[in-house]
Symmetry: C2
Subunit: 289 residues, 2 copies
Amino acid sequence: MRNWEAMEAFVEVVQQGNFSKAAAKLKVSTSHISRLITQLESQLGSTLLFRTTRRIRLSEAGELYYQNCRSLPEALSSAEEVISTLNQTPVGNFKMTCSTTFGERYIAPIMNNFLLDHPDIELDFHLTNRTVDLIEEGYDLAIRMGAMKDSSHLSRRLCNRVEHLCASRQYIDQHGIPHTLAELSKHQCLLGSKNHWLFQENGQRKEIKVASQYRSNSGVALLDATRKGLGIAQLPDYYVNEYLESGELIPLLTQYQYPYSGVWLVYPKSLHPSPKLQAVCEYLIENID
Amino acid sequence: MRNWEAMEAFVEVVQQGNFSKAAAKLKVSTSHISRLITQLESQLGSTLLFRTTRRIRLSEAGELYYQNCRSLPEALSSAEEVISTLNQTPVGNFKMTCSTTFGERYIAPIMNNFLLDHPDIELDFHLTNRTVDLIEEGYDLAIRMGAMKDSSHLSRRLCNRVEHLCASRQYIDQHGIPHTLAELSKHQCLLGSKNHWLFQENGQRKEIKVASQYRSNSGVALLDATRKGLGIAQLPDYYVNEYLESGELIPLLTQYQYPYSGVWLVYPKSLHPSPKLQAVCEYLIENID
DNA sequence: TAAGATTGTTGCTATATAGCAACAATCTTT
DNA sequence: AAAGATTGTTGCTATATAGCAACAATCTTA
């Protein structure tokens, strides 16, 4: 770990012409400056400046060292300033992901409006039902169904979604209506990305693993299979609301329906969230309904 | 005083890909690295890198900061290297001063030989009888008659010179020979740069202030005045030896002659003398006789 | 699948450090 | 010419700091 502070002190001493002014500028004591310079000269094995009690003069080595170091403090300041301006306002590239249908139907319109208000933000919006590794793949934000527990992420509830367990009239006519969770094992269960269904029994969250001969990470495919009577599926309200209303699909086991299958904003853990992330999150929460 | 070490730690972490390797490279503990990064992020008010326990990834702010800072460690290293090579061997510009005649007659020939052996040294040799301010005017070395006491300089004896008090035969015939120091006040005293003469009485150094109607900072002028019988002068042996031998000038008060009126190498105080200074001093002392 | 290895973080403490005050050496001013 | 102001240096001490060890979270390997 090299002696950066001594270098900065030296450069400042040269520019100010004496130790006292340099100390004042750097907001440290002159004794500190004095010791830093002495130490620097020791490390370099070279006298950098000759000093009387009143005046200083650069040695040839000091002149060389100064010429090579004078730009460094400015460079660091400029680097810090860039970050500072980045912190002032939401700007930059924003990479986010969301499940396909929910994204297309709800998130994309909100984000597009957001971009109209924030022309300095570039959006990179990946719609996929794959659960991506945020940090690994450099995402700023994911919108996930159901909260995830992960030591390196934080999450924030975006809105509440109900997942409806349902089947087509045709399927019910053939297989009957299940009345308990246990009865599900006798039915054709159509699974999505997760290999369990979420219910609530006596106020307790309950994850039920069901055997399945059908899986798809596409809600659209799942919905189609359900409508064609291939089995029972648990689908978010925005897929099935219209079919439940029309009576094409029948809600099942509603007494066990989990009330808060939330939609979450998930982002990498950070003590200092970027303005762009904050702005996007606020805007989404504000405009989701 | 800005946080240079944290910046260096950050750059190293980015380049090494993790905290541990960066710590090893910088020869500090990982805990130190961890705290430096945390502290840097706090100061900048921005998360620079997202970290799982196993992997890190730059945030947009981190990427920007890295791009702006990556060259700084190299720059400092290179500055240090320049000084290091400067320390290896005597090189560079060497500015020195000496009294005119002594310089012309003794020092210049030695320095010219020195330059033949050291083509990398550029000499700036000022011959003057003015007592220059070494530090103020940027001199590396002065050659002075008589040691000087000064808190901001060091000195080293180059050789011994005897200052002969003498007068011309013609002057002695007219004014007689002084036999005591007190008698000098009755004589015409020709003064050089200093306004006193140096003697020894009972082993004690003794500076005698003499009234004078003639002063010159030029030894040549003083010698000429002495030879023409204008008065008594105290002159270094290299001015008068030939005339004392020929009998043209008569030595006076030899029992009071100060034995060690030395010639001194005087240079700005420094804990780490430059190789060029050391080389010049050694060479002069080696070759003065 | 489980045990071991490796990662970054945090509490505790020995160590290093920075500031205060006193000092010596000039320079300035009256 | 003398007193006061200002400079850089140094001893002392309160404070900050860096390393150790323990830890939690993950990845690797058998």
